[in-house]
Structure formats: structure tokens, C-alpha cells
């Protein structure tokens, strides 16, 4: 599904390397988690993969289902099946949440040569999906993320994911700013989307999210590289002993 090979990334504005030779392979239907201390480059990885400006890839490559991700515009990556659940979803006053969702769904369908959803079909679909995430009509009507609580913003991200039905989902610190109930709701939303044709890359500081979204593989990232890969037990090790032991062991 997602293949990252020897990826090197630096900030465009300054000569500072952030990702230093990262390789990763996520198979279809699998959930991979990336854990790591602050500043290890986890969020940068999510931005580079989704096409945000300000980063320069100096070496390596990344493909989604064999297509070169790094050559594509952000919207092309989305249409190809990539989805980033933002750590900090952006507030967009003046754009209704519903209008935004419908424009996004139809833009992707159009890009893939599929027929656009009719207003009626879209409404039916969004209502059903919103309900399971406890997103009420008011939240759908309000401007995108504007005035939403932290939990509402994250639920709104998952709603977008459910509507867009991507193949490869990157969740960037989706647990940040969530209380226990909200985390449960968000995790249920994610778990409902798990299937054989869809993969996840879950980026998190903490093991607690992984209690709810069970990973198949856990990677530890430090200083721009994957330093250790293991099963779910690796996340527990981090939870119990912190990163220091693992980093010392691989150093």
C-alpha cells in the first residue's frame, strides 16, 4: 500500500534535515503505529506524505499503490486515496461544514472519473455517518471546525475520513486533546473503517490510543529514522519504560 524508501527531508527555509533515511512499508489492511519522542519528525512525515509546502525531499521516495506520491499535488494524493487526519484541524470561517464535505467528496469522485453524488444521496450518507460519530446537525451546518471543541474537531476529521473512504489513512496525534470518552468515540469511528483494502498509519506519543486502535506493527521513530520495529508489545514497552531505554539500546 504505502512504501517509503530511504526518505530524506529538510525544511525548505533553512538547512535543517528532519527526516534522515526513513523506510517503511505498510501492507493493505494493516495498522502501523509510529511512536516517538517530541521532535523525532513524526508530524513532518505526515505533512511530507500529504504534500504540504515548506519541505524539501532531498533523497528517497514514497509511493502509494505504486504511484509516486511526492510528484503529486496534495489534491491528487487525496484522490489517489491518501488521507491525513490533522493534529490541528484548521478552522475555516465562512465555509459550511456540509458544503466543504460535499465539495471534497465530489472533487475526489470527479478526479477518479466517478459520477458526483447527488445532493440527496450525499445528505443521506453524511447523516448516517455523522450519527455514529455523535455529530449533530448543528455541527454539520457550522463553518468548518470553527468554534469546535478539541473533541469535535477530531470527530469531524474522522467523519471526513468516513465520507472520503480513503485507502491509506494517516492519523497524526489524533489522541491529542481528547478526553477518554472522545478517544473511545474516535477510535470506534476508526475501527469501523478497518478492512482488508484499507491501511492506517497511526502517529502517537502515547500507547493509550493503541489500546483502542490495535496496531499490527509498531515502529519507534527517533531523529528522523525508524529505529525499532516490533509488534503491539513494543508500545507497551514504551508505556512502561519510556523511550530512553529503547533509544539507548539502538544507539
Amino acid at each position: 500500500m504505502l512504501e517509503i524508501n530511504n526518505l530524506h527531508v529538510k525544511l525548505e527555509e533553512e538547512d535543517k534535515a528532519i527526516i534522515k533515511g526513513l523506510s517503511l512499508s505498510v501492507e493493505p489492511g494493516k495498522v502501523h503505529a509510529i511512536m516517538g519522542p517530541n521532535g523525532s519528525g513524526k508530524s513532518t512525515l505526515s505533512y511530507v506524505l500529504s504534500g504540504k509546502d515548506g519541505y524539501e525531499v532531498t533523497d528517497g521516495d514514497a509511493t502509494l499503490l505504486g504511484e509516486d506520491l511526492l510528484e503529486m499535488e496534495p489534491e491528487e494524493r487525496a484522490a489517489a486515496g491518501l488521507f491525513l487526519a490533522f493534529q490541528y484541524p484548521v478552522e475555516i470561517p465562512g465555509v459550511g461544514n456540509m458544503t466543504f464535505l460535499r465539495t471534497a467528496v465530489n472533487a475526489q469522485r470527479k478526479a477518479r472519473g466517478e459520477e458526483e453524488l447527488s445532493a440527496g444521496d450525499f445528505l443521506k450518507l453524511v447523516r448516517a455517518k455523522a450519527k455514529s460519530l455523535k455529530i449533530d446537525a448543528d455541527m454539520l451546518k457550522r463553518p468548518v471546525n470553527t468554534g469546535f471543541s478539541g473533541g469535535e474537531k477530531k470527530r469531524n476529521e474522522i467523519l471526513q475520513m468516513a465520507m472520503l473512504e480513503p485507502k491509506m489513512c494517516i492519523l497524526d496525534e489524533t489522541d491529542s486533546g481528547l478526553d477518554v470518552d472522545a478517544m473511545k468515540l474516535v477510535s470506534e469511528g476508526v475501527n469501523a473503517l478497518r478492512d482488508a483494502g484499507r491501511s492506517f498509519l497511526v502517529i502517537t506519543h502515547y500507547q493509550r490510543l493503541l489500546n483502542h486502535i490495535q496496531p499490527d506493527v509498531v515502529h519507534i521513530m527517533a531523529d528522523g529514522k525508524i529505529v525499532k520495529t516490533g509488534g503491539p508489545e513494543l508500545a507497551l514497552e514504551v508505556e512502561n519504560n519510556g523511550y530512553a531505554d529503547i533509544l539507548a539500546e539502538v544507539a
Binding site: K52, D53, P74, F86, P89, A104, A107, A111
Partner: protein
Amino acid sequence: MALPQAKQDTTQARLSALALPQDGGWLGAARDAALGRVRAMGLPGARDEYWKYTRPAALTAPKAGTAAVLVTDEAPVFDAIDRVKLVFVDGVFDAEASDAPELAGVEITQLAEAGAADIHWAKDLYGVLEAAGQVPVERPLAALNTAAAEQGVVIRVTGKAAKPVNLIYRHVSETSDAMMHHVVRVEAGAELTLLENGPAAARLNSVLEVDVADDAAFHHVRAQGRDHDRVAATHIFGRLGTRSLFKSFTLTANGALTRNEAVLELTGDDVSAHVAGAAMGDGDFHHDDTVFITHDAVNCESRQVFKKVLRNGAVGVFQGKILVKEGAQKTDGYQISQSLLLDDDAQFLAKPELEIYADDVACSHGSTSGAIDEEALFYLRARGIERAEATDMLTIAFLAEALEEIADEALADDILSRLESWLLRRRG
């Protein structure tokens, strides 16, 4: 104090080029009085403080410049709205092209006819609100209009009008010079929606005087034509009675020079007065919104919401003032002027002013200038929306607060579709 020679010359040259109407009667007297005001004030000059950001030369020149007539197959704005149409071609009323001026609760008379009759309410308004609006800031182009305009409508509203009255301004001649002066009196408890659309002429000078009586409502939605070379100076003078509602929205897309002035006096308590505008400029475009709102009563609310989208050398100007007179307690005044600069060549100049002589008021004002929010743009694109469409979505979102000032949903949707088309035509 004698006027500077240059100002005297400009004024004299402009007046000499006009065939001033010689009708006598009450209208003639009002025109004579206005002519006196013009001579005393002189026409605006580049050195006038009130014209610091906008060069008035094209508006005060003896002759109108040339403006190509825009040919488009787009349906005119408001076309789908059920309304009474009154058509002016290059500023001259065209009865053939117009609907019969019949609407329950609304009396519509052409200015020339009204001048020949003894219509006391029109007599009490024509040039009267304009004259009152000359203090504390002079607006000589409005006085010139009162003195010279022969075209216009006089509307008296005695009930709740079932549909809007639409003044349609067609531009046919490339050198037309139009002057129109409309007077509207909305009687106590009555309601009217007035629509205006079209470029009107190569050069337009228009005045609209609106007297909104107690408990009456006046809605105004205007779309100034898209002809690129046209120039226009427009004035709205409003006098607002107790518990009245006044809402005016203007869409300006294109036009080499536009100066829209709104001068409102809140004379009764509990008034709600909103003036809003959305301006879209690309290239040779200079748009100036100049607003002066005077609170002279208790517990009134006023809003000024002006948004400008500028690119490719376009210039936007905002001069907005809230004057709260002594005793105008519980005033709630709000003013926002913002520009979205789509490239580095566009320019926005803003002069927001508050002058407050009452101690129990809440007034706020803000002015910003900025580019498209890159974070928001990336967020939309990351969801699969192409850059151009995402940019347009954010542009429309920027304008939303101004559009929300249009109360009627069908009218708001119509205006919105114009904005979307304007943006769509500019997609690469």
C-alpha cells in the same frame, strides 16, 4: 473663504458643460439651492482630505470618458426575481422596456412628473437629505446631482410591498454621462426592497435619498455593472426613524473608478442600520466605500461590513465613520473593512473613524488586509479540492460576512452566484 482658483475652474468647467434644467416649481427651487451649494463648495479636488485616496478628476471632468459596453451572454442579476422593473438606458428612463409602475402600497412617479405636481412629501425630501448630509463633510458631487439631475424616480411606500422595485441601468453608448436622482419615502410601518443593477453609463452620478419613517423597513441590494472602463460616484442619504430598519448591500465587480458614499442619520430610537459591500477588482479597478453614520438617538445599532477582493493592481479604499452624538446612549456601532489581496500588486487603503460624545456606548471597528490563508488552503487541498477551487471557496468565505447582510435568501443566492462566476472566469 474663497475657493482656490483650480477648484473654481474645475467647478465652472463642469457646470458650463451641463444643460441645467430650467423647470421652475418646487423642483426648480431645490435645484437652484443645490447649485448654490455646488458653487460655494466647489467640486472635489485631489488636495481635498476626503479625496485623499481617490482621484476625483474623472468624476468632475466636463465630459465623460469612453467606456466600452460589456457584451455578455450571462443572464442579468435579479432576472429570476419577481419584481417591478424600471429601466434606464444611459441614465434615461425607457418606459417601453419597463413594467407598468403598479404595485400595491407603492406609488412610483418619474422625477420630471413629480416636479410638475405638488407632491409635498417629495418636496420635503428632494435635496433635503443631501443638503443635511453636507455637514460635517462636504459631498459636492451629490449637490451637483441635485442641481442637474433630470432623471430618477420618486417612490412613496405606504404598505408592505409584495415584491421589490428594480431600477435597471443599461449602458449602451460608450460616452454616456448619466445623472439620476431617486427619492424614496417609506411611510410608518411600510416596507420596500429596492434593487439596482447595471453599469448605467460610461460615467454615472447617482443620488438616492431615503426617508424611513417609524417602524418602517427599507432593504436595498445593488449590483454595479461589470463594464471595465465605467466610472461612478453614488450617494445614498438615509434618515431613519424610530424602530426602523435600513439594510443596504452593494456588489461591485469591475469598473475603473467607483466611489460609493452612504450617509445615514439615525434620528429615532431603536434603529437598526446596516451598510455592506463586496467589491471584486482585477486590474484597472479603483473602488472607494465612504460611509458616514450618525447616531443621534438612543439604543440604535449600526453595522458597516465592507469586503474587497483585489488582484493585479486593483485598489480598494474604505473611509468609514461612526459619529455618536451627545445623548445617543446605548449605541451599538460596528465597523469592519477587510481586503483579501490575491497578489502582491493589489492595494487597500482604510481610514476607519470613531467619534463618540456619549458615555454609554459599545463601538468597535477593525480593518485588515491579508492574503489567502495557506493553512486553510492546504487543508482543503488535502481533502481533494483543487487549488483553484479551494482558493475560490476561501475567497467566498472571506466575503460571507458582507453577503449575510442581504436579508432575502433568493437575492443573497443570486449575488453569491455572481461572485462565483466572477471568480470562475478568472481561473487559470
